[in-house]
């Protein structure tokens, strides 16, 4: 028994519709006004061009957006992801060149292309640090019964301090070349970061759609009480999503610090929490929780970065970009607000019925 809803309406109602439209809009503007945008060349054996930049830069944001989606779907929010990125980056840098006590690292130690800890342990430590942060948040929210915004605010404020603590207050530049692989490497011509995102996305997708976790997350976000009556543990679901979000932020931190070759407690991942929330909202997941789409959030992240790089291409200075970002958000807010939806539905529905489509 399939719905007799006109194809156009079904496409329109698919949650990916508006984000893809927005993305398409930006790309069209690029095509018209900056044709060089789409040029992809080959340099040093790998792909090169604005589009590649977009993907490369948006990788960390995509990762954080994936984690954030699940948190928002349960009706919560995680403000600490930026700080977790900083912590994760700091862990990496420090393990490469452990600074014991107050001994400042001399320049020749720092610039040696070597590491004091095997790479795989570094990666593991990074991920562990982030996951523990997520666990902390999750515990506060699920067992401590503290409001998500308040609970994650604490780590957001203190987290950067912790990152600084790890690096002893220094901005640590990384010289260990294998570490750069994550953010700068290429496999088969495509940036490594994209592979990482793809793997994490796939993992997350399988985790939430091929197990019952995704359904439970949505149910908890929609009606936690009914979900409890049905035998689902709201606490455990919430604990899971925050932990996973911390995990994603940790990977993002790895890629980011690898890309910029440094760990800077103050600036790593700055404003990432805000961008991640934006990406999720653009992707159509409501902040009150419920239905979510990982893919839509990834597109949301893509939109943010395509927009950013487009602005660069037009010569808009990096800092002035913020205003443009705000306009983007305004447009998104308006598009998704109840009024706009009803308005659009009225116009488009009327058009449909004029053509005599059965309903």
């Amino acid at each position: 028994m399939k719905n007799n809803v006109p194809l156009l309406k079904r496409i329109r109602e698919n949650r990916l519709f508006w984000p893809l439209v927005a993305l398409a809009l930006i790309l069209i503007i690029d095509a018209i006004f900056a044709p060089g945008f789409f040029k992809i060349g080959i340099l040093d054996g790998h792909l090169y061009g604005n589009l590649i930049d977009v993907f490369n830069n948006s990788a960390p944001l995509m990762l954080v957006a994936i984690g954030m989606t699940l948190v928002i779907a349960t009706g919560g929010v995680d403000l600490s992801v930026g700080a977790v990125i900083a912590i994760s980056a700091a862990m990496g840098a420090v393990l490469i060149n452990p600074a014991l006590g107050n001994i400042l690292i001399t320049n020749d130690i720092l610039t040696k292309d070597a590491t004091n800890t095997p790479l795989w342990i570094i990666v593991l430590a990074d991920l562990l640090a982030g996951t523990l942060c997520g666990l902390w948040n999750g515990w506060l929210v699920s067992r401590g019964k503290i409001q998500p915004m308040v609970a994650t605010l604490i780590l957001m404020v203190a987290g950067r301090g912790i990152a600084q603590l790890i690096t002893n207050g220094q901005i640590m530049t990384i010289y260990y070349t294998p570490y750069f692989f994550f953010g700068n490497g290429f496999i088969l011509g495509i940036p490594v970061s994209i592979y990482i995102v793809a793997v994490v996305f796939l993992f997350a997708w399988v985790l939430v759609r091929k197990t019952s976790i995704g359904l439970f997350i949505e149910a908890v976000g929609i009606n936690a009480k009914s979900t409890y009556y049905s035998g689902i543990s709201e606490k455990n679901i919430k604990l899971f999503v925050y932990t996973f979000c911390g995990f994603c932020a940790a990977i993002a931190g790895l890629i980011l610090s690898s890309y910029v070759h440094s760990a800077d407690g103050n600036n790593n991942g700055l404003n990432y929490e805000l961008d991640a929330i934006l990406a999720v909202v653009i992707g159509g997941t409501l902040m009150t929780g419920g239905r979510f789409s990982l893919f839509a959030s990834v597109i949301g992240a893509l939109i943010i970065w395509t927009f950013t790089i487009t602005m660069y291409t037009f010569g808009v200075p990096a800092n002035a970009l913020l205003a443009g970002r705000a306009v983007l958000v305004l447009v998104v807010i308006l598009l998704y607000s109840d009024y706009a939806r009803r308005f659009l539905n009225k116009i488009l529905d009327r058009k449909g019925s004029q053509h005599g489509t059965a309903n």
Partner: protein
């Protein structure tokens, strides 16, 4: 001859429908000046809708309201308050963080030289409360006081802000103890003496008899009748609430009351002295396979509390529960689910339906919960299960992918029922499963319950409709005042049950 001047309020021919349900059908209601008029009926009878119409929250499709000698159209709660209809709800609609005096005067504070004159404000508040014979420190935050006092403050506010002609009290005594309730009643008598008409909505019949002058009974959206309290014996009142006539014995009253339920049947569940302070006194119950146990009792007698205890929503603080001869140590819905108990809850909107999910997802939800996070029901299987129950229960929908929030109340109830049936439980507790469902569907569900019992399950059927309890149950447990009052099997008719509910037996 009715002297219309005596009546401060007359509601005529009020009808109101919501999608799929007739909330009110041609209801009449009148209120005299200086009268305490009780409005009663079971859940779903239409009491709250009637009040919502009176206070402007809802607008009726038909009917008229005459208030204080004039025909009025109540546009909004604000408007109602302005013209003199004051309401105090069960959840006191005040702000607990500001002082008592402020709550009374908020929006009407006296000012001096442009700023709030606190002294004067407190004085006004004190006077307002004195009128209700309440003397408290009005400068303390409202939250410091008990619900009983908060209610008094709410009443004081509504009387203070406008010269109220009608005061509606919606379940005011639910959170009060006996002393506090009596205090409220004294206040009501005082206000009655001042000529204010009071509508008293409650499910406590004792209190109805203690304080009211007239009683109006609603049932299934229709008016059953309006009676002078003094001339309506309690037993008749209950009968009217349940839709029975005490002289009418020809109805289906002798159901399958076979006494052999115990022999040869497997005992599935046993509760001994199970109780929880504040919710249910210790009770014993035994559930066997192949039978339906009905639980009858008036609103507030503890029916849902009993269901919640057995299913593990609430943890008992006394007694024990044994399932299949194994003692239950941990009370939670998931535990019960794993042990083969299912509960179809009373409030389907808040406790059952997950509105934004599809029918299919709602149906398999509990089953999936039992399997846990990683043992995933394949989508194909999910559709199979969903479609099976859509057919079985006759859920009217074009597809299993419809969002449950778009279904009618009756269909929503069927979806929730399907959810629990899908878990193939041994014990199935149904709390008001037929509320808000059309007659045809009601019969379907009743038959289904009997069929399930036939298959070997134990069904617990809770309902405020005595008729259907009798029709479907093999034995009946009667609750009264949060206690198990009696258990009947064999030959029993509704008379006996009503008498038990009334406390005569």
């Amino acid at each position: 001859m009715i002297n219309t001047k005596d009546f401060v309020l007359t509601m005529n021919g009020i009808s109101k429908t919501f999608p799929g349900v007739n909330a009110l059908e041609n209801v009449e209601f009148s209120l005299k000046r200086g009268e305490i008029h009780a409005l009663i009926g079971e859940n779903g009878a239409g009491k709250s809708t009637l009040i919502k119409v009176l206070t402007g929250v809802e607008h009726p499709e038909a009917g008229s309201i005459e208030f204080d000698g004039k025909t009025v159209e109540v546009k909004s709660p604000q408007h109602a308050q302005e013209i003199g209809i004051s309401t105090v709800y069960q959840e006191v609609n005040l702000c607990t963080n500001i002082s008592v005096a402020e709550n009374i005067m908020l929006g009407h504070e006296p000012h001096r030289f442009g700023s709030i004159d606190w002294k004067q404000l407190n004085a006004y508040a004190r006077t307002a409360l004195q009128r209700l014979s309440v003397e408290i420190d009005v400068s303390q935050p409202l939250g410091n006081y008990s619900i009983a006092i908060q209610q008094m403050v709410a009443i004081a506010r509504s009387l203070e802000i406008t010269s109220a002609k009608i005061l509606i009290l919606d379940e005011p005594t639910s959170s009060l103890d006996v002393t506090e309730a009596n205090r409220l009643f004294d206040l009501m008598q005082k206000l009655k003496g001042e000529g204010i008409g009071i509508i008293f909505i409650t499910h406590f019949l004792d209190q109805v008899y203690q304080v009211s002058d007239r009683i109006t009974v609603l049932r299934n959206g229709k008016l059953v009748g309006t009676y002078a309290t003094a001339s309506l014996p309690r037993i008749e009142l209950i009968a009217k609430m349940l839709g029975r006539s005490i002289t009418d014995l020809d109805e289906v009253s002798k159901a399958k009351f076979t006494g052999e339920h115990k022999e040869g049947k497997k005992r599935l569940l046993e509760a001994r002295g199970l109780g929880r302070a504040g919710s249910l006194e210790p009770f014993d119950i035994e559930l066997y396979a192949n039978e339906v146990v009905g639980i009858a009792g008036l609103l507030g007698s503890g029916r849902t509390e009993m269901a919640n205890l057995i299913f593990g929503i609430d943890t008992p603080d006394k007694g024990s529960l044994t399932l299949n001869d194994r003692k239950v140590n941990h009370f939670s819905p998931l535990e019960s689910l794993k042990n083969g108990i299912a509960l179809c809850p009373e409030d389907r909107k808040a406790e059952g339906v997950v509105g934004e999910l599809t029918i299919r997802e709602n149906i398999i939800l509990a089953l999936q919960a039992r399997f846990g996070w990683f043992k995933f029901l394949q989508t194909q299987k999910q559709y199979e299960i969903a479609e099976k129950y859509i057919r079985l229960l006759g859920i009217s929908t074009p597809s299993p992918d419809q969002l449950v929030k778009n279904l009618s109340g009756g269909n929503q109830q069927k979806v929730i029922l399907a959810r629990w049936l899908a878990t193939n439980p041994q014990v199935l507790i149904l709390d008001e499963p037929t509320r808000g469902i059309d007659v045809g569907a009601k019969a379907e569900i009743q038959k289904l319950v009997l069929d399930l019992a036939e298959e070997g399950k134990s069904c617990v059927f809770i309902s405020s409709e005595l008729e259907e309890v009798l029709r479907t149950s093999h034995r009946v447990i009667v609750l009264r005042d949060h206690k198990k009052a009696a258990e009947y099997s064999g030959d029993v008719n509704d008379q006996t049950i009503i008498q038990t509910m009334a406390g005569n037996l």
